[in-house]
């Protein structure tokens, strides 16, 4: 039996929450038992578009996704209110696999949303410890900083308005130089992830990164999201191991638009 729902299920929005400037969460009821942190949903805005969104909150019945307003579809989602309806299918993709006890999590921008349920899962086992870096452009874009207890949270901003001044990968490198980790997990801008994966690969630290590509079918059929030797971001990913990424020449350099044409990252 399949775990996922493959025809959009219409759900009513239970609640919405503004997390930061232009960043919002939408909550609704959806089967959550089998959702693995790092998996994503296809969100149908009836009559407009259908776009991929990571699950950012997982509880017994209610789940949520957290997004930044960037274009037409996310703008329409941003304007939705309690009791409005959206279509949801999924969960899709593989999700993260936690390895070891001492873990470094590095999130950039909305990548933080993807990592949030992972951080909760790491914390659900007592003996595990987690260091978290949230990197954003400026202070106003920070969110989820008060969501977790018992984490060692570090913040980086490009403009230095709070925390470390610089990009998250620079801060990550400093921390990796001083402490040993069993695993590093990252989600955010691809250039940032590429730096982190390179650092970890060269030091033989297990690393996982969650990638974004243009998604159409979401079920591994159409080939729109393929990278490397036919790896489907929607099905074989979106989370890939460092050694797999080392063999994907376009990682950090180019992606494909909706027509399949290569574009620079």
């Amino acid at each position: 039996m399949k775990n996922e729902i493959t025809c959009p299920r219409i759900v009513e929005i239970k609640n919405t929450k503004i997390e930061a400037k232009n960043i919002k969460t939408i909550f609704f009821n959806f089967p959550s038992k089998n959702i693995i942190p790092g998996q994503f949903l296809m969100i149908w805005i009836p009559g407009l578009d259908e776009i991929p969104m990571s699950v950012s909150y997982i509880s017994d019945r209610e789940i949520g996704f957290t997004f930044r307003k960037v274009g037409e579809a996310t703008r329409a989602l941003y304007d939705l209110k309690k009791r409005d309806k959206i279509g949801v299918r999924g969960p899709y993709g593989n999700g993260f696999t936690i390895k070891g006890e001492k873990i470094l999590v590095v999130g950039g921008g909305t990548g933080i949303a993807t990592l949030a349920p992972l951080i909760e899962k790491i914390l659900s086992t007592k003996k595990r410890r987690v260091t978290v870096i949230f990197g954003v452009k400026t202070k106003d874009e920070l969110f989820f900083t008060r969501r977790f207890r018992n984490i060692d949270l570090k913040i980086s901003t490009d403009d230095g308005s709070i925390g470390f001044k610089g990009v998250a990968s620079e801060l990550a490198e400093k921390i990796i130089n001083n402490e040993d980790f069993d695993q590093v997990i990252t989600c955010g801008p691809e250039k940032m992830m590429k730096k982190i994966v390179d650092i970890c690969n060269s030091r033989k630290i297990p690393v996982q990164a969650s990638l974004e590509r243009y998604i159409k079918c979401g079920i591994g059929l159409c080939g729109q999201c393929c990278i490397g030797e036919g790896l489907r971001v929607c099905k074989d990913g979106p989370v890939f191991e460092g050694d797999t990424l080392a063999k994907i020449p376009e990682f950090g350099y180019f992606k494909r638009d909706a027509s399949g044409r290569k574009i620079k990252i």
């Binding site: 591994g220 159409c222 080939g223 393929c226 030797e229 036919g230 044409r261």
Partner: protein, 311 residues
């Protein structure tokens, strides 16, 4: 009889296939990397994504929806354009040894000829004309349902290339046999039947069609009996080889097509239902079935239902 004594190889005109399972157009074949993966998983040949003269993004999402017994898609022929596609074909040709068949779609003879010639120059082993996409305005089925247009396009493409020419047909016509015969008469080397079947899904909570293009093409289990019927009717009337496609998930499904007269089959939606490994699985299942039934050669099964028919 051991599995390796069973011969599942087949031929389509001058194309030699190590087994009868080819990748259908539009499934994991927009870039070289995907096609290399499919080749490594045992496909005997690959039909590329249908490529047009210009870059096209395709329709807005939702472009696909799963329904009972199948999938409805309305991708809208997204493709990077023939100029950009050259590097993909060249790379697959370098990294694989199976036939690579370039699928193309155009508005008229001129566009089809240009595309076919490009595919040949890039190194494609054959060309498949998409005269059957059920959901793209001005292309595919809109051309492929008109015998006169089919005849003209097939004849002019045939005279502009020297590699084998496949013509892919739609079941959404009054008489698919007439179209197949027209294609044969004008120089088609192989007929592919069928493309997806026009279909629609409406969400009853919102009262809206799910697909942004509203109408799409139905593929998967539900359309197998339609495809088998088309292959049976066409094989009866043409002398060129026919390739069966539509709803093949297991070797038994493929065997129905072989018995109807198909010399090979294409696999699409089963990549979703059974994974990328589906090609190897199908060939093993086919050999097992042939062993159980005492067949040594695939050629002994092809057209069996035609031979057995009365009247």
């Amino acid at each position: 009889m051991k599995n390796d004594e069973i011969d599942t190889s087949t031929r389509l005109s001058t194309l030699v296939l190590k087994n009868p399972f080819m990748l259908a157009s539009g499934i994991m074949d927009e870039d070289a990397g995907s096609m290399i993966r499919i080749a490594k998983n045992g496909a005997a040949a690959i039909i590329t994504k249908s490529i047009g003269t210009k870059q096209r993004e395709g329709y807005a999402n939702p472009t696909i929806v799963e329904v009972d017994c199948g999938i409805i898609n309305s991708m809208g022929l997204p493709n990077p354009g023939i100029e950009a596609y050259g590097e993909e074909i060249k790379l697959v040709k370098k990294k694989t040894s199976i036939p690579i068949i370039g699928s193309i779609f155009g508005r008229d003879e001129k566009e089809f000829c240009l595309l076919a010639k490009k595919m040949e120059t890039y190194g494609a082993d054959a060309v498949e004309l998409n005269l059957s996409c059920p959901h793209a305005k001005g292309y595919g089925l809109e051309i492929g349902s008109n015998p006169e247009k089919v005849g003209n396009i097939v004849a002019s493409v045939k005279s502009s290339i020297s590699i084998p020419l496949l013509v892919k047909l739609s079941p959404n016509v009054t008489d698919i046999v007439e179209i197949a015969k027209t294609a044969e008469k004008n120089g088609a080397d192989i007929i592919t039947a069928v493309n997806s079947v026009k279909a629609m899904k409406i969400d009853i909570e919102t009262g809206l069609p799910v697909l942004s293009n509203k109408i799409g093409g139905y593929s998967g289990r539900a359309i197998k009996p339609i495809g088998v019927r088309c292959v049976y009717e066409i094989s009866k009337e043409v002398d060129i080889p026919v390739v069966g496609v539509g709803g093949i998930l297991t070797a038994e499904d493929a065997i129905e097509y072989f018995m109807a007269g198909a010399s090979a089959v294409q696999i699409g939606s089963a990549v979703y239902y059974r994974g990328v490994e589906v090609f190897k699985k199908l060939n093993n299942e086919l050999k097992e079935w042939m062993k159980r039934h005492g067949y040594r050669k695939l050629l002994d099964i092809i057209g069996l239902a035609q031979k057995n028919r009365r009247g």
